[in-house]
């Protein structure tokens, strides 16, 4: 079997593995899978769902699937721990019911979509800075309040929030009152939902949201609007919840708030966890399990919740990547991708150097934005009297420094705790500070995202790569071109999105080639060695052609060969015109790459000059060694 796989070049037969002429993200044949799923459900209906009772279950499954896909986007992809999807289903259900009585289902549906968009945008904006647990608690509170309001609003939701009079879906005047008619209508909704979902999966949104979910600060520092994207996915997921609720009401013709209880909330978590939190297709399996399993276990009715609980607990422990992850490991076993073969799963260790879609050459340098040594009119980066205080401690005390020339490399040295990293964090807008930071004479706004947009890229002390993304995607997140990377590009302007994406791929692949990692373009970055992760971060930093690249101890944790390699790379980048601000400890590394060095001690600048001057300065020796150390040395 493995032999067969190798002969197939590590690809599934019949092109099922995907189109090799696209980057890995876009190889997945989502449309084919979706079509196969819908046709299979439609064809299997007479076999598996022959009577109204079983068809009823199938309908319930498809309705929950819509809410589940919405939940997948907000919880699985965006990583927002939301408990309010059941409330949104209630909002959709009751709003549609209220308007449908007079004006029909479709008017009700449109109103309920509008209501949920407004409601969740406001709520999401209020909670945009709230993290994990507080977000979970806040959405739980919203659900409680919302359900209570519905129960106390008889003119809208009916007495005790019970409605018996909900008209069914109508199409061209036909009332879809039977299970069979409803089935086709619901399947139509599922197709639409899948299409909207696939458009997002096959767009820059997927990599961005996964990056932001796993490494928020690094994503912002790469220039992403994390809050904006998470808000959009949250609202989109909520709208799917509302649509699901609207269909549920029209299909049952009855609504009570009991449906939207904790059991369903937990059921949604089970759907996404069982399915695999990073796979759209996992939700289909997950929702099928949630709907059909209890039905199969009629005899064990009273154990149903117990089984749900056990599934959730052991699912998280034993199958952290869900059914989809399980499928992925099977594919890896039998149809390994090239990097998987190379990583020791039976291959000869060779990797093709460049992807087939890459038009540049494997070693082409990124075009330098500026010639070396061309004197800028105003400093590229100017730090003016910047201070950072943590409580009563002044970590950085009125530090000023300038980077005037393209291709200049300024080293920042000082003993541990002298405020080097804190100064970098201030420059990048990660910690609050007093004073001014200017890029090309303009004051930079104090948020990582705007600092990045102003032209500063940052690599962190311990490499902050986005673990669930491939190397190429990691670099793509840093692209300066952010046109059509949002919902507009995914849903409406797809041709433009594709055009910009192709340009972005080229640029990202060139940046990967620049640091020597192009052959790992399909490899998930979490599998890279520490040294390679650092190079990857530098590639992500330079892909946007920044004014200044900020590095925090780039040689830390690297061996001699890796350090030399890194110094070569930084020298080449500087010769190409890239300006670098680097915090570093290793003396020969600093000597080699830096034109100028600033020494910090206790938050203050104590020396500035060429590396040789600074190392010889008595106050620097004293800062590192202490008075006695000098006397004895």
């Amino acid at each position: 079997m493995v032999d067969l796989a190798r002969r197939l070049g590590g690809r599934l037969p019949f092109g099922l593995g995907g189109d090799p002429n696209l980057p890995l993200t876009y190889q997945r044949r989502h449309y084919l899978t979706a079509a196969a799923f819908v046709v299979a459900v439609a064809l299997s209906m007479p076999v598996f769902f022959p009577d109204d009772a079983s068809l009823h279950l199938a309908n319930l499954w498809l309705i929950y699937l819509i809410a589940g896909i919405g939940f997948y986007f907000m919880f699985g992809l965006a990583g927002r721990f939301a408990f309010c999807q059941t409330f949104l289903m209630a909002v959709g259900g009751y709003t549609t019911a209220y308007f449908a009585v007079q004006r029909g289902f479709w008017v009700g549906l449109v109103v309920s979509i509008a209501v949920s968009v407004v409601l969740m945008t406001v709520f999401g904006l209020l909670l945009r800075r709230v993290e994990e647990f507080y977000f979970a608690i806040a959405t739980l509170a919203l659900t409680n309040i919302g359900i209570e309001v519905l129960q106390n609003w008889p003119s809208f939701a009916g007495a005790n929030a019970t409605r018996f009079d909900i008209p069914p879906i109508t199409i061209l005047g036909q009332r879809l009152a039977t299970e069979m008619a409803a089935f086709w209508a619901i399947l139509g909704f599922v197709v639409l939902t899948l299409l909207l979902g696939i458009f997002i999966e096959r767009s820059p949104i997927r990599r961005q949201t996964l990056a932001a979910r796993d490494r928020r600060i690094a994503a912002e520092m790469s220039g992403m609007n994390v809050q904006g994207l998470q808000l959009r996915l949250f609202v989109f997921g909520s709208v799917l919840g509302a649509v699901s609720g609207a269909i549920l009401g029209a299909w049952q013709s009855v609504l009570t708030t009991d449906v939207f209880g904790i059991d369903l909330a937990v059921g949604l978590f089970v759907m996404v966890i069982i399915g695999g939190s990073e796979s759209l297709w996992g939700v289909i399996i997950g929702s099928a399990i949630v709907v059909f399993l209890p039905n199969q276990l009629q005899a064990l009715q009273e154990y149903q919740s117990l089984i749900y609980g056990a599934i959730l607990l052991f699912g998280v422990i034993l199958m952290p990547r869900g059914v989809a992850g399980l499928g992925d490991s099977l594919r890896t076993r039998f149809f390994p991708r090239r990097w998987e073969v190379a990583a020791g799963r039976g291959g000869d260790g060779s990797l093709e150097s460049a992807p087939p879609w890459f038009k540049g050459s494997g070693v082409a340098p990124v075009e330098p934005a500026h010639g070396p040594d061309d004197e800028a009119s105003s400093p590229l980066l100017e730090v003016r009297e910047v201070s950072v205080a943590f409580g009563g401690v002044l970590a950085v005390d009125r530090v000023s420094l300038q980077l005037r020339k393209h291709g200049e490399v300024l080293g920042l040295i000082g003993p541990n705790g002298s405020g080097k990293t804190t100064l970098l964090n201030a420059i990048c807008g990660i910690v609050p500070y007093s004073g001014t930071v200017l890029v090309r004479g303009r004051v930079t706004p104090r948020s990582p995202r705007h600092v990045s947009a102003a032209g500063i890229s940052r690599a962190f002390q311990s490499p902050q790569v986005f673990p669930s993304l491939t190397c190429l995607e990691n670099v793509l997140v840093g692209s300066a071109d952010r046109e059509f990377t949002g919902l507009t590009g995914a849903w409406i302007a797809r041709p433009q999105m594709w055009r910009h994406e192709r340009a972005r791929w080229e640029k990202a692949a060139a940046a990967l080639a620049r640091v020597g990692l192009l052959r790992y373009h399909e490899t998930p970055s979490r599998l890279l060695t520490y040294g390679h992760q650092r190079l990857l971060e530098i590639a992500r930093g330079i892909v946007s052609d920044p004014e200044v690249l900020v590095l925090d101890e780039p040689s830390a944790g690297l061996n001699k060969a890796e350090t030399d390699n890194l110094a070569d790379l930084l020298e080449e980048l500087a010769v190409g015109g890239l300006t670098i601000l680097v915090v570093e400890h290793k003396i020969d590394f600093v000597d080699r790459i830096c034109n100028r060095v600033v020494a910090l001690e206790a938050g203050r600048v104590i020396a500035e000059g060429t590396p040789g001057e600074v190392w010889r300065a008595p106050q620097v020796a004293e800062a590192y060694l202490g008075r006695r150390g000098i006397a004895e040395g």
């Binding site: 409680n144 209570e148 009273e302 117990l306 959730l312």
Partner: protein
């Protein structure tokens, strides 16, 4: 069970033992306050009864909230099974009193011990295997445990609500014309004693200091040799024991049913958030605020929304002042 809808018994806590002379239960919102039927004396008595009810409820809430916060600060985990552990406290106490026939206070002791062990088991089952997983995975696992505990209790004891006897029967104390059940007074005393004991534990013992060091700086604590894993087990045990105690204390005042703990837990969330998730004083003050809001305002002004008022406050706090309302209060930290 709807996520919304705290059952009425948590609100008034008066449904089994009327504390007010039969004349008039507080009803009808603001209008009723000035209603001529209700004489001034009765109104005052009613108010005092509601006040004591609120204070006792706040005591229980503060125990639940403390359990949350102790665990959160030692492990950075929010335990969604906390409420159901509290429910379990009620059922286990019921079992030992009514089916085993232990004396009431002995049953209380056994219950708290059982719950402590349950907490330890929970740590082994849902937290230890997930130490390398994301926080979200751990929380989902606790959610799974929560559902499983509830289902398990239902299978074990059935779904009919239980009534737990109070060690004081229906004895009452007269305060300003109102009858205050001794159970409520006991709650206040027990809560004060427990909090005193916790202060001693966290400030005065090596274990307590180590646990607090985890909350301040996990990595540093590990480096200086705090046994992080052992601490997590202990924190789960203490937290769960507190939940069990809360369940034991509240059960004689309400009907014990499967949703009891989950609903109280949501209110305790509010108290913990309002208190800033850290200071003991903050938690106590916030619990009082939640208890009073829910019972006093809920009784007189917005009856239909009594249950969700604390959530509205909590939302406002999360949005406007995420560090908590009373976090600035100095005092002991857990």
């Amino acid at each position: 069970m709807p996520v919304g809808g705290i059952p009425a018994q948590c609100r008034g806590m008066d449904h089994h033992q009327p504390t007010v002379p039969a004349s008039a239960p507080p009803a009808g919102g603001l209008a009723a306050l000035g209603a001529p039927v209700e004489s001034g004396v009765v109104a005052v008595a009613t108010f005092i009864a509601v006040l004591f009810s609120a204070i006792a409820f706040a005591g229980v809430l503060s125990l639940v909230a403390l359990g949350f916060v102790v665990l959160y600060r030692a492990t950075r985990i929010i335990n969604f099974a906390h409420g159901d552990l509290m429910t379990a406290g009620g059922y286990v106490a019921f079992f030992f009193i009514n089916e085993v026939g232990l004396p009431i206070f002995a049953a209380y002791g056994v219950t708290i011990a059982v719950l402590f062990l349950a907490g330890v088991a929970l740590e082994r089952l849902a937290y230890a295997p997930l130490r390398r997983a994301s926080d979200i995975a751990v929380v989902l696992a606790t959610l799974g445990i929560a559902i499983a505990i509830r289902a398990g209790l239902g299978i074990w004891q059935g779904t009919t609500p239980k009534n737990l006897v109070s060690p004081f029967g229906s004895a009452v104390v007269h305060v300003g014309g109102a009858n205050i059940s001794e159970q409520r007074l006991m709650i206040v005393v027990v809560v004060l004693v427990v909090i005193g004991a916790l202060v001693l534990f966290f400030q005065g013992t090596q274990f307590g200091r180590q646990m607090r060091s985890l909350a301040t700086d996990r990595e540093m604590a590990m480096l200086v040799g705090v046994r992080v894993n052992g601490m997590a087990t202990l924190a789960f045990g203490i937290s769960s024991g507190l939940a069990g105690l809360a369940g034991v204390l509240i059960s004689p005042l309400v009907a014990v049913d499967l949703n009891l703990g989950f609903n109280v837990m949501l209110l305790a969330f509010s108290a913990a958030v309002l208190g800033g998730f850290g200071s003991l004083t903050g938690i106590l003050v916030a619990s009082l605020v939640v208890g009073l809001t829910q019972q006093v305002i809920g009784n007189y002004v917005l009856q239909n929304y009594a249950d969700v008022l604390p959530f509205v406050m909590m939302l406002a706090v999360i949005v406007l002042r995420p560090q908590g309302l009373f976090a600035g209060l100095s005092g002991w930290r857990v």
